[in-house]
Amino acid sequence: MAFKQITSPHAHAAQNTAQVMRLVLWATVPGLAALTIQFGWGSLINVVLAVVTAVICEAAIIKLRKRPVAFYLRDYSAVVTAVLLGLALPPLAPWWVVVVGSMFSIVIAKQLYGGLGYNPFNPAMVGYVVLLISFPIQMTTWISPLSLLPDGVSHPGIIESVNIVFAGYSPADGVTGATPLDSFKHSSGLVVDQIYQNNPLFSQAMFAGVGWEWVNLGFLAGGIVLLATRIFTWHGPLAMLGAIALMSVIFWDGGSSESPGSALMHLFSGASMMGAFFILTDPVSSAVSNRGRLIYGALIGVLVYIIRAWGNYPDAVAFAVLLANFAAPFIDNYTLPRTYGHTDRRRATEKEEDA
């Protein structure tokens, strides 16, 4: 009788990377649904287009690298990157914006660094920033939320949306409009109360900005599911949201005309919730230890707020995440957990343990 020689442990939990990725995809559904309800078919088209591009690019590069294509495609990581990019892009953006961003994410930001597990930067955010810098007009044209459309105007239907995206048709007047973060940034001279009264984006909202609060609630719901299933720990997301809230409270400025806005507005506007639960939780490019992820998340929260409040861009999750990606290996060096039997945590760079 001869048997296989196999290293321990022999038992293995049922979960695999593909399942983790699929769960992340399912968790984006509430956010995607909110985007689609509030802003029309654009986001869905973005997602589909991005996924198709990403999978083709991923397959081509893996083929070039002479690796088994099916094995690597089955991990769903390219799909996750593409879906996140598609969700982040403005609905009804021209097709080539989505394609270029998706290609850049997969080919440059992911595969050229060695593929899954080796990219130092979040691929979706690299793609997003490249687009934002290269095509500022296309990237800052947002659709108005459902309830703010002028009378008699509705979001384009699916056929019309496809025409807008692929054939360059222009959407009807009044379909595009500013986002809450935009309008807050460009409402200098008004105190917060005036903005809230005058701007329908806020006056018709429950607590943050019309439409956007639903989108953020959607991503929050998905994030809570992922937290509950232990796909990631609470440290990163909570630290980021906490930092944004804390910064908003510190610089609230009594709601004066200089105030960058309330904590609720910042937490539930732009990409706050998506960033907290779907972007900074990308484990490959984030800090590794729980303590490290607290610092990493807080750093992103602070950067987001700084750029929103005093920078040139209305939203900042992509920039903040990329800047924190730079810092992640450095954070890792100083945030090792204390190991059993050791009196103190160690530094990753030390040659000998301090007595």
Binding site: F3, S8, H10, Y340
Partner: protein, 586 residues
């Protein structure tokens, strides 16, 4: 309810313990041949003290312990020694090791043996000797000689005795079944341990809460013994020694230290039974409870198994279906190692033989890239960062691995268990530990070599210096001797030596007049040689060859030069003396 502490990390793999608990502990027929490896424990292998062909009785010693950390071996049944040679043993590498093969005579005749009825009146040292002679090594898995654990020395007083009945590995029920059926004897064994250790303040029997029957079986026997049965939530790997100590006491063992350093002795519950049998019944360790389980076997149960029983013998009596078996594991599914052959014998540390079907434990999937998801770090009971350890293992960055406390990894396998990318993390750590130990070893060797070389170099230089010093001493001695002989011909005293030196110096000072005369003589000589050379040249020019003419020409030239030099010297001399004269005049 006794307070317990919660360790970080841990996993909850399916327990799969019920399968082997439907039947009581059974006996197997005595195998025709038994194979007793000489090394079943940590420490030096035993040395055979029997010869091939010799008849042995059950319980007779067949191998002696060698050195302080070692245990003897005993014949598991009566019969004859049929071979003493290298055979495949239960080892993850499938290596060969020295074994004693006994061919059973089927009679199972015991050697005369006798226990101690009242151990309370025996000295601890004597009891420790009985335990050592009975060949008892830790039966939980590591196989550390028990007698050494029980003899920690006076500088380490033992305050706490911990009995490990955790049995946290899935599938294994050897301890559970032993407790259910032999609680009284186990408690008696713990009493012996307590007596040996001078009745420590705390005797804690740690057991996971998934064994309520075992806990119930223990309860009636622990009354008035001072033993606390402490149950705690089931979680793998709570049975690790370090983990159990933390769970029961809240103390962490400092990295690299032993439980005894913290006043703790930790003994597996199966070992306490063996100790009771050794002390009270006088039986050496020749059998143990081993779980035979897994879906590739029709019968799943615990057997009282003779040490040396081939695994194939167990399988043969368990309706084993080889085609259905995905792998054969000695130990549990988390830390057990795979056997390549079923011919290997059961040893003192074998608590389980697991023969799973493909649906239970399928073949490993190919590993995917690590995405640093951190599930491993959440599962690690030692609070390590397995994903970073993996990263640096691949990079062979030994400094980083040590800074990340690689050597505090207990190889429990929780990280690999949860890894969604199917990376065999533990295997990477084992490899890296081996590499680092090898590098350390080589560093020690190269340090030795360098020191040796430097010492050699120093020694050679010293030898050279010594020689030089000797030479100098000899020279000095010779000069002294010469000086002595010189002074001894004249006067002996120091004043005489000075006088003699002064005399020699004055003698050297030449009278200017004489010197001038000497110079004038040399000029005259030179002049004469020049004339002679010219004459010779003139003579030769007529009848000699060109070559000789050339030589003679050169001779004339050289004679002229010497003349000039002599004239210059005389001129100098005259000049000098003019000055001297004028000075004298002044």
């Amino acid at each position: 309810m006794i307070k317990t502490w919660v360790t970080p990390g841990g996993v909850h793999p399916p327990e799969n313990k019920h399968q082997s608990m439907t039947l009581p502990i059974g006996d197997l027929p005595i195998p025709e041949r038994l194979l007793v490896p000489l090394s079943q424990h940590i420490g030096a292998p035993a040395v055979a003290c029997v010869k091939v062909g010799e008849k042995v009785l059950k319980g007779q010693k067949i191998a002696d312990a060698t050195g302080p950390v070692s245990v003897p071996m005993h014949a598991p049944t009566s019969g004859s020694i049929s071979a003493i040679e290298d055979r495949p043993i239960a080892h993850s590498s499938g290596m060969l090791a020295p074994c004693i093969e006994i061919t059973s005579d089927g009679k199972d005749t015991w050697i005369d043996h006798q226990g101690i009825a009242d151990f309370e009146h025996s000295s601890p040292q004597m009891l420790i000797k009985i335990i050592a002679d009975a060949g008892i090594a830790g039966m939980g898995g590591a196989g550390f000689p028990s007698a050494i654990k029980l003899n920690p020395g006076h500088q380490r007083p033992i305050d706490t005795l911990i009995i490990n009945a955790t049995e946290c590995e899935p599938y294994i029920t050897a301890d559970d079944s032993a407790i259910r059926e032999r609680a009284a004897e186990i408690i008696e064994g713990i009493g012996i341990l307590s007596h040996i250790l001078g009745n420590p303040n705390n005797i804690l029997l740690g057991i996971e809460d998934n064994k309520p029957e075992a806990i119930a079986a223990l309860e009636p026997h622990v009354a008035d013994t001072g033993i606390s049965v402490v149950s705690f939530p089931t979680k793998y790997p709570s049975g690790g020694e370090k983990q159990l100590i933390y769970i029961l006491t809240g103390n962490e063992l400092a990295s690299g230290s032993l439980p005894a350093d913290a006043g703790i002795v930790c003994i597996n519950i199966g070992t306490t039974y063996a100790i009771k049998r050794a002390v009270v019944n006088g039986e050496p360790l020749i059998s143990r409870v081993t779980t035979m389980t897994g879906n590739a076997c029709g019968i799943n149960r615990n057997y009282e198994t003779l040490i040396g029983t081939p695994v194939s013998h167990m399988l043969a009596h368990s309706n084993f279906n080889e085609a259905a078996c995905s792998r054969l594991v000695m130990g549990g599914p988390m830390m057990g190692f795979s056997l390549t052959s079923a011919d290997v014998p059961v040893v003192k540390t074998t608590n389980c033989i697991l023969a799973p079907s493909y649906s239970e434990i399928p073949d490993d999937e190919p590993a995917q890239p690590c995405i640093r998801c951190g599930m491993c770090a959440e599962a690690c009971p030692a609070s390590l960062l397995p994903q970073q350890l993996f990263w640096y293992s691949q990079a062979q960055d030994h400094d980083r691995l040590e800074a990340h406390n690689l050597f505090d990894c207990i190889e429990c396998g929780a990280c690999s268990y949860v890894c969604p990318s199917n990376i065999p993390l533990v295997q990477h750590y084992r490899h890296s530990k081996g590499e680092i130990l090898k590098a350390r070893d080589e560093k020690v060797k190269s340090d030795h070599a360098r020191e040796r070389f430097e010492f050699h170099q120093q020694r050679m230089e010293q030898a050279e210096r010594d020689k030089e010093a000797k030479r100098a001493a000899r020279r000095e001695a010779a000069e002294k001797a010469k000086a002595n002989s010189a002074t001894s011909t004249g006067a002996g005293s120091a004043a005489d030596i000075i006088a003699a030196a002064q005399a020699r110096a004055t003698a050297k000072q030449v009278n200017p007049e004489q010197q001038r005369a000497k110079f004038e003589r040399s000029i005259a000589g030179a002049e004469m040689r020049v004339t002679m050379a010219i004459e010779k040249l003139a003579e030769a020019a007529s009848n000699q060859t060109d070559e000789q003419t050339n030589i003679l020409n050169a001779a004339v030239e050289s004679a002229k030069q010497k003349l000039e030099q002599a004239q210059v010297r005389l001129a100098d001399h005259l000049e000098k003396h003019k000055e001297l004269d004028s000075e004298q005049v002044k």
